[in-house]
Chain length 328, copies 6
Amino acid sequence: MALFDMPLDDLRSYLPERHEPDDFDAFWKRTLDEAAQLAQDGPATEYRPYDGGLSTVEVYDVTFSGWGGHPVAAWLIVPKGAPGPVPCVVQYIGYGGGRGLPHDHLVWPAGGRAAFIMDTRGQGAAGRNSAGATPDPVGGGNPQAPGFMTRGILDPATYYYRRVFTDAVRAVDAAAAHPAVDAARICVAGGSQGGGIATAVAGLRPDIAAALVDVPFLQHFRRALTLTDQDPYQEIVRFLATQRGAQEQVLRTLSYMDGLNFAARATAPALYSAALMDTTCAPSTVFAAYNHWAGEEKEITVYPWNGHEGGSTERRPEQLRWLRDRVA
Amino acid sequence: MALFDMPLDDLRSYLPERHEPDDFDAFWKRTLDEAAQLAQDGPATEYRPYDGGLSTVEVYDVTFSGWGGHPVAAWLIVPKGAPGPVPCVVQYIGYGGGRGLPHDHLVWPAGGRAAFIMDTRGQGAAGRNSAGATPDPVGGGNPQAPGFMTRGILDPATYYYRRVFTDAVRAVDAAAAHPAVDAARICVAGGSQGGGIATAVAGLRPDIAAALVDVPFLQHFRRALTLTDQDPYQEIVRFLATQRGAQEQVLRTLSYMDGLNFAARATAPALYSAALMDTTCAPSTVFAAYNHWAGEEKEITVYPWNGHEGGSTERRPEQLRWLRDRVA
Amino acid sequence: MALFDMPLDDLRSYLPERHEPDDFDAFWKRTLDEAAQLAQDGPATEYRPYDGGLSTVEVYDVTFSGWGGHPVAAWLIVPKGAPGPVPCVVQYIGYGGGRGLPHDHLVWPAGGRAAFIMDTRGQGAAGRNSAGATPDPVGGGNPQAPGFMTRGILDPATYYYRRVFTDAVRAVDAAAAHPAVDAARICVAGGSQGGGIATAVAGLRPDIAAALVDVPFLQHFRRALTLTDQDPYQEIVRFLATQRGAQEQVLRTLSYMDGLNFAARATAPALYSAALMDTTCAPSTVFAAYNHWAGEEKEITVYPWNGHEGGSTERRPEQLRWLRDRVA
Amino acid sequence: MALFDMPLDDLRSYLPERHEPDDFDAFWKRTLDEAAQLAQDGPATEYRPYDGGLSTVEVYDVTFSGWGGHPVAAWLIVPKGAPGPVPCVVQYIGYGGGRGLPHDHLVWPAGGRAAFIMDTRGQGAAGRNSAGATPDPVGGGNPQAPGFMTRGILDPATYYYRRVFTDAVRAVDAAAAHPAVDAARICVAGGSQGGGIATAVAGLRPDIAAALVDVPFLQHFRRALTLTDQDPYQEIVRFLATQRGAQEQVLRTLSYMDGLNFAARATAPALYSAALMDTTCAPSTVFAAYNHWAGEEKEITVYPWNGHEGGSTERRPEQLRWLRDRVA
Amino acid sequence: MALFDMPLDDLRSYLPERHEPDDFDAFWKRTLDEAAQLAQDGPATEYRPYDGGLSTVEVYDVTFSGWGGHPVAAWLIVPKGAPGPVPCVVQYIGYGGGRGLPHDHLVWPAGGRAAFIMDTRGQGAAGRNSAGATPDPVGGGNPQAPGFMTRGILDPATYYYRRVFTDAVRAVDAAAAHPAVDAARICVAGGSQGGGIATAVAGLRPDIAAALVDVPFLQHFRRALTLTDQDPYQEIVRFLATQRGAQEQVLRTLSYMDGLNFAARATAPALYSAALMDTTCAPSTVFAAYNHWAGEEKEITVYPWNGHEGGSTERRPEQLRWLRDRVA
Amino acid sequence: MALFDMPLDDLRSYLPERHEPDDFDAFWKRTLDEAAQLAQDGPATEYRPYDGGLSTVEVYDVTFSGWGGHPVAAWLIVPKGAPGPVPCVVQYIGYGGGRGLPHDHLVWPAGGRAAFIMDTRGQGAAGRNSAGATPDPVGGGNPQAPGFMTRGILDPATYYYRRVFTDAVRAVDAAAAHPAVDAARICVAGGSQGGGIATAVAGLRPDIAAALVDVPFLQHFRRALTLTDQDPYQEIVRFLATQRGAQEQVLRTLSYMDGLNFAARATAPALYSAALMDTTCAPSTVFAAYNHWAGEEKEITVYPWNGHEGGSTERRPEQLRWLRDRVA
């Protein structure tokens, strides 16, 4: 891959203007309050034991109440034999994939932490990806491009990621509610879409203990849409190419969802990574979020020769050690 | 393109076994009755005059009540100056596209017929396709592959095409209800997905005067899924590759939607076309439907050197002349 | 698609130097005079009625005398029942396609105008395109890359587009000569190659009433050849890559054909469109022509999220309304 | 590559029916007689010395009179210092390429033979190929797909390969006429298109001393058009896909040009090669010609693991040794 | 994907002839004896504790003596707190990848088993794959295609996989030698290349307790080389396409390495999987091995809609449960 | 192709900083001395006559002692009948190819010079390339990406190109040692990798008479790795993407191999070529070497419309004439 974005020195200081609607906080407060109320009124979170042939962890097949009171699936995986509640990592999944199997998510438990793996509604049926188990019962108020990026995109109230981010905040509560989990030591984590969701949660939940954000998606949409030819950002471009004239509405909706606005509200310690040859989530969009991140304790690892795979599994020991010093 | 399917002689006599659930007719009767009831109870069909700079036709921007009482958009285009009600062609659109603009649909009016162009819910925002104006408000009861082929596919009750076919039957009523249209002379027409929808309507509505079906999609799923690598059939394969074990449920749902079962009920005169190098809608899947078509008056044009474009615009004079002799 | 060309603000003022040979006007005068003389000496334009099943228009299968006195095919489509001669749009076709069928060209007649659709000699047999009916009997004075871009390119006298542009000027005469057409109200129109041809005609015929030019091809060759990897401009690059040393001759020939030089002579009102993600006809090459257009009454629509499809059918209502105000 | 054609054992005995028009011989006699007459009446073949920095060979830049009396370029390369006239290999070029430079053709001279390299009219300007120097001044009587395969294809009289094959026969005369060449020991040679042309010459000229035919193109069109997706055969498919209904005319024209009909008339000793993974010139089309070859002394080398490159340069020592024993 | 191989019913009984050299057993006995001797004479296996931030497992960075006494890297991961030696899964890696990090291999330990992950010499530096840490110091006795498939392929003594399979047998010893591992309960496992290696070990080591083989590579070479166009089998085809004439030598070498010959000697219980749309390791090559497997206790899972990903992580719970019943 | 690198005017003066290790000269002196000693101690160079059916040249199949005393294959081709020793061109091959056959290399002999064609160890078995006959017996001290670019790349002592450049210097000696060759008139030549090797030899051997360097590879690595997406430079990027953290070691190794450092030591007259659309060996990397070339007599030909094929065979007459004036 050629280098195609800004030089690293410029990335380090890249702090673009954010586009934030006046009612950003009100919009999200109302959204989260409604979901909390629905959860309170609805069925309690279920934690069903799951036998996957694993013996050193307890695994629960979880269903909790997400946006609209819709049931959302998750895995809760707890290392066996801990003397009391353990810290927990709430993990969000990359675009297209579902929660898969607990066997995909054994790193945090092997590190002595519970892992709570949230399914991304609607996703997980796309071929070559992990399976999901959570429908998105809402079809959206507009025609859409294949995929999820433009479902309901003409209005922040109907946009797909409003529902996903709400689920993600609710997931933290569902993790915290389990007795094996120490609610005071919950981190959020994810790569790509998962990193974008983790960013949103970090901006919406001041009680998060730390955030692990790798090559995050859903950041700095205005730049991302015109910088490369890569999906999934290009789903939105295809939408705009067909639904000519929808640009203002779409950009307005995205301003409620842009990671830059969540990062600017996020105060937890954060460990980021970016890759300089990443054409899916270009490094300038990642640094834009990182540089806007409000928390003072933050660090970013740069992979100069990688694409969107970034650090891949090599993130894990780095993250485990970083967490060990902060959220023991 | 190489020839990849059966030789033409075998195609002409290819009559594969159909997989039809026992309650096929009951399922569809219930479905259509519910939709009719919702339409009756809901707002009347709207026909709003549209100014697209055209002077020899009257154009109406139509909204009618589709499945679930959802509003569905359409164009009604009527040649000006006819002495009385004219015959009408109800046209359905290929996969991915929306109703576009009336300027895309001037052939039938230039032939002296009204054209009623139904939007396909959810579609029409995919880039390089015509724009749609109709959302599909239903997200479906399962995770889905990008696109529409697997939305709600685990249950015939929630499947996307149940809604589309119901919209399509309702479209005939919406066309028939306009005073400029002669309800006794309504034909259905379409290519690819549009041809699949037209087939469904012809199987569900015995009062259709004729059907024009070009290289139809949504026929003979069991064969189509394993014959080529082409979308959109492959959306279902990608779904099955991720949602391992869903095969029986998926095939059951598809048995309610397979064009072969509609063709076996269709009695209207029909003019088909197939293309021997069509890897999207392989000729054996088209002939399977054509050979099962119950109506005795039927004809098929074969394009030996074409892919999915089939006869393209060259279908139009052939269809107009064929119609002139039958639905004058 | 990434944005790859100049920012829109720069495009609006981009006025590159033109490369124009001294005898540009003499070359074209001589060329057109010869063709006019051959037409006068040869057989009269034929207008043969064509039955395509259409009833609200009269359709003529036209043959007129083009460059070299060669027969060129066209369709003339006239709305029935007009009280007198109507305005006419002479339409040119995009690269690779032929005149197709009248059924492809019903928009202008539905808007109350005659349409005269000129076949592009040699083209229309390329797969996935509309069919042509006009040979180019001249093979050219040099080896050529597949396609038409380098046929005879070593000399302006033998270059393919000399013949095409001459045919296109003659098409205006052939349209004007029909009694149903009002010769004083002839517009030229086209997208891509069609837009390039329309530009040439507008620069060669001061009596044109208006020009509709969408994402035109054949503009600003020197920039276009090195800006993207897209055909058909790249046919010329492939030629130059093999016929090393032909650069000067080729650029000289192209200077007689470059849309910039025609635009600088065109005085008719013009309605343009450009697309910012168009890698086939990059926006800077379109704006270069638009900014050089000599006529004072001009307008350009910009599609920020589209590729070479530009506004697609959405151009039609805009063009019909624009025409209605100018060439009623 | 997968094996996609018949098993080798079946290939060895594959002798498909030939489609040959009644006037095949008359057509070619007339064609060749006309060309011979034009050559006699026109300017004599020119042999201009060429300085390419080579010292062990004499190189001539040749122009001879081809079909229609058109000038055709060639190289004649003669090893220096031979005691008398030497045998000569007349070589034809693969599709898309031109005669290139003498430096591309030094094998036969290094083997003690003269080489006469015929340019293929019109070709040699396609990028990544060798340059040509011969225009095809005839454009053809029909629209054509990019390339040369469909130029004039609706009539054998106007078809491109009628001109090329005639040039090729005339090339033998032009080679034979040079005093350094022994006219009784002229072989024809070529790979791909070059092999197809050599086959045609061997069928039209009983005085050829031997033929070297590698992975020949232009053989057994009816099968070749539907067996793979590869150009250049697919140019014809694209033509037929657009010019629907031209099939009979096209197949009739091709029956005058099919290598099977030339092979059935060829009596010279022949050395063939075929490659089992060749999707451009599928092995069954090569074996069909080889098995029809009338000469009794024939041999074929099979490359089981190669595509269209076949034996590549490894053909040369085999051919030189084979020739040494036969045309010393 | 289309179905491209035999129907499932035929696969189930597909038992092709094996090509086995007379000295197959002698060759491997000599090879393994030499390696055992070198290991005995060389430095002892090293087990260095590794801190990857994991707390429920002990991780060792292992170096053992492989073919030629070369150092080979591995991970040994043991669940903490087991009361005595545990069963162990020796895992081999897919083509191109290295042993990666222990964080990639936590499933078996979470199931209560030790995992021994062998690096594949030379591999693990290919982009988008896991990193390796083991060089292959031997370059091979012939030119080679990029990759590892043809390194030293002209002679079984120098072939790359002779070294890899020997490493793999030695890996079992290195695992067995650690006090935390129960040497009587060692299973081998792997997918794709890993499955091929596991097959070889199962054929060479009668003391293996069980084998888990997913979509194995390196099976039934003669068919695999000509059935699809997919790497890595095609590396060998590219070699043969250039090194014409090497076919017999290459097939002879491969007969010492073909999984069919190892399977025919393997007596351990085996759990296989195959995927019907797998173009990399076509199902007939997998079934050929499975059907030849000598052990009577065997089972195969078929994924009808998957490509080479097969069952992906969904293999893990099935394998864990299958192992639980057999190698508790 | 788009132009993607610097404008030609900037290229002409582009003189980037070189990264050169302090012991560059010592490293290479030691390396070459060792190889010379091994050659002296080992078997003499063999020149075996080869019968390829050629009669105007003498061909020898050569084996000489390369790096590590390894046997390296070559062709020596001498024009017959020269009165005494002739000048010689030592030619190196492009990436992936081997020495092929003498029939591929007849230009220099036809120009009256001997040609010595060195095989590139390990290469020549890659499909669609010429065959090689020389193994690289060394596998390297690290895992490697497929290909040769990263074999042993972690240490200059083990790097693949250390061996190749040493072979290449020894090839000059092997050519010079033959009685038909005039050792005082030896030129080096090559395109792409061959040009990179020729540059290295020219920097290491002050007695070279001239250098012909076309679109050379292996120049200015730091820029080349991030400028385009093309192999073979990208093999190194893929290595770095997997072997994260190896950057410093890799760049250090490459600093011993970078053509810029050899060019800065090369004093022979040089004829270069570069192509402006060459994405494999970008023109700025070629000009960087050319501008650093120490010899004062140098010339560069620029191909503005070509990719990596550059001038192709058209280089040959230009080179022959340039050589004629300098190394007669």
